[in-house]
Symmetry: C2
Subunit: 453 residues, 2 copies
């Protein structure tokens, strides 16, 4: 559904509410997709949202709830009765319930847990203890387990009985008597296999699994790599604890990329959506790096100050400073972005470090050569400076580009090596380093090349 | 599998080849996952790679082939016989075959098409005509079609007969007599439903579909949004032409993010993997923007040159230039990155433009206020400049931050509005604009505030 359609539905719903045509409202909603309903009602005011929400069939309301933004879920929670809340939470898929509880204020969590049976409460608490962003924290406990001795007919019968409550029944997992994961069978294999075949004879034994404590980014890499619909999550003893399904991972792939975008732009990452954050929160996430970078830029000021006697004599020298530092920054961030992203997607690894650095230096020599040649022509024929100064500027430009390409490649690789997030080594930080080095080269060459009175 | 494991297998395979222990080699390979086999053999030399590749069972070799990088696929194609090539291409899933043919040199394509039956050749040519990155170019024609009058038992029987050759049988599509798409049924529903039920009574009629010409980025958005395993692709008359499955979309989500990363770092996007590109290719993708930005930085040089009489008198003024332009660049790229990414993931839309710009200005006022205050204290108490100059620098800093936040938000939104890719409006371009404006403000204020002899 497009933005215009949402707006259309929202206005139509409001009209139906105003004219009290609730029957028509109910019919229209029940034909829509739950994702779309969530989007439509989120922008309504509390009263209207609640009215529409309460009109949904019970199982649908839980689904709609799970697709809403955190902020709007809270609006619902604060307006409905405890009984209604418990019934929604009960209807949620287990992983969605954990998601909701993780983000909710403590009083809401206590309220919900108070209405849950003891054994389930124990399980919920266990799940809430998995580290944030770990496989354990995003897995679900709803999946199909088969025994190796079952035949296909029994397996299908088993699935038919319990199937509709499972997050996914497309991959069924096989456990031995010690509850260890020994294989999987896809529903596709079950459907096309002979009814009398045994599970142990048709299961795939080469199971790709993830550990409960593995980071969700690594889990996402495995999904992208192998293209499975679901991956099993096991504990240290290789016992099946849950599964992660591809639809939850699509969000992870997107939000991990967003996190990298933000880190590379020197912004502290945040879990909240942009529109939900206040200007103060946004400023808080952006100020620390801005401050650090502003203060470290003092270094460059210091260098210029040290050489002010030569600027006093050759004022033209200061006009080339922004061009050189900008080109250094741009060329360095090209390299660092390329390397950081290639590391993140697994296209390159630490073992390629030497190859990457040599390649970036070569690119630097090619690009630096061309840029400084163009620059030389421009400042000799257009700006009309002395040949000596043109040479000084163009030579510094060449060194700047080569150096920035090298640092842009080397710093993220170094960060990865010492287990720092490479994304932090992005343009902002590299720019500051390059500025400092470039200015030092520029002025110390100037002192050597130009006659000083 | 981790990097170390790949390396281990590669060495083990080489050892087995050297000691001519091919039986053991065959057994080991057949137990591995096809994705891993592709990764292991890609780094071998031509002879070894071919030896291992030829040892694979026929259907497995096609799968391994489909997971290899373009460059390594070409290595295989150039070493095997035409008969072998035809047999591999025949075994590929239809969408993988199209993928391979799209990237291969013309002589290879001619070779393959020459060995294909006429009707299939026609279909292949039709698919090759879909625009690059369109839904049509990534869809597959292998899917299950059901008729509305079938019952569940017949449907399952039908799937059992043809199922194994389909890319996915988990979502089955229902067509009416005009071949128009009227609904879908998941295999899950089929498996848990009563055998006598009719498809038309259990199918979902609210089908989310994409058009053949839709961009793959929009397709990916729909997948992330609705979390389906597959989406149907229809033509202008709503006839089913193919389906796209989630595993192909995971790659799209990742590569679209990579493309944005590169564009934002002023790099022309490339389809090839980093390690497959020569330094010349890399330089070619990076030089155009570097040149444009270098030359546009001349503007800043011109401004400094115009005010060189005031620099001559107050040399200290030039020492603050890098700090101010860097802070402007950093703060602008924070905003542009945030806005570009939020636009790309659909978190904000054009309708939020005003809200976003006001929010960024507010952030700019908060951050700019704090930064310029810190800066004021620093240069008064540490650098010990005159109060007038401290005020000049700090005030310019404040304006710089507010302005860069505003431009960082406004330029990508404007680009979106006039249908240019917002990612182009990223740090590099914004930096150049901000530098120019900031220097103009700085010097024109300086002329007003400072006594000139």
């Amino acid at each position: 559904m497009e933005y215009q359609e949402y707006k259309g539905y929202r206005e139509y719903f409001k009209e139906l509410i105003d004219t009290k045509n609730l029957k028509e409202l109910k019919t229209t909603i029940s034909e829509l997709n739950v994702v779309d309903i969530a989007e439509i009602i989120e922008d309504m005011d509390d009263k209207e949202m609640l009215l529409v929400f309460r009109m949904l069939p019970k199982e649908m309301s839980a689904e709609v709830f799970s697709y809403m933004e955190r902020y709007d879920q809270l609006r619902i929670i604060n307006s409905i009765t405890d009984t209604e809340l418990t019934s929604i939470i009960d209807e949620l898929d287990f992983d969605d319930m954990i998601d909701v509880l993780e983000e909710m204020p403590a009083n809401v969590v206590t309220k919900v847990l108070g209405n849950t049976p003891a054994n389930e409460r124990k399980l919920i608490n266990e799940f809430l203890r998995y580290p944030e962003d770990s496989a354990g924290s995003i897995m679900t406990i709803e999946y199909v387990v088969l025994k190796p001795e079952m035949n296909v007919k029994d397996a299908l019968e088993h699935i038919k009985q319990i199937g509709m409550d499972k997050e996914t029944i497309y991959t069924c997992y096989v456990e031995n008597e010690y509850k260890m994961l020994i294989g999987f069978v896809s529903l596709r294999t079950l459907v096309v296999s002979d009814e009398s075949k045994l599970i142990k004879d048709i299961m795939v034994e080469d199971v790709i699994s993830v550990n409960t404590l593995e980071d969700q980014e690594e889990v996402a890499d495995k999904f992208v790599r192998y293209g499975y619909i679901a991956l099993p999550v096991v504990d240290g003893e290789y016992r099946l604890c849950g599964i992660i399904t591809f639809d939850d991972i699509m969000d992870v792939v997107e939000s991990e990329a967003t996190e990298d975008f933000h880190k590379m732009a020197a912004i502290a990452p945040s879990e909240d959506e942009y529109l939900d954050q206040t200007p103060w929160q946004l400023a808080k996430n952006r100020l620390p790096w801005l401050l650090v970078l502003m203060i470290s830029a003092t270094l460059t000021g210091g260098i210029i100050d040290r050489y002010n006697y030569i600027i006093a004599q050759y004022l033209i020298l200061s006009t080339f400073i922004p061009m050189m530092t900008d080109t250094g920054g741009n060329s360095g961030s090209q390299s660092s972005t390329t390397v950081i992203r290639a590391l993140a997607t697994g296209e390159i690894g630490l073992s390629d470090s030497l190859k990457v650095m040599v390649k970036e230096m070569t690119v630097g020599i090619i690009a630096g050569g061309i840029l400084s040649f163009v620059n030389f022509l421009r400042i000799v024929f257009i700006t009309k400076v002395q040949l000596k100064i043109a040479f000084l500027v163009s030579f510094t430009m060449f060194i700047t580009v080569v150096l920035s390409k090298f640092l842009g490649a080397a710093l993220p690789l170094f960060a990865k090596k010492v287990n720092i997030d490479p994304a932090i080594m992005a343009s902002a930080l590299i720019t500051t380093i390059i500025d400092t080095v470039v200015l030092m080269i520029y002025f110390s060459l100037a002192v050597k090349l130009l006659p000083i009175v």
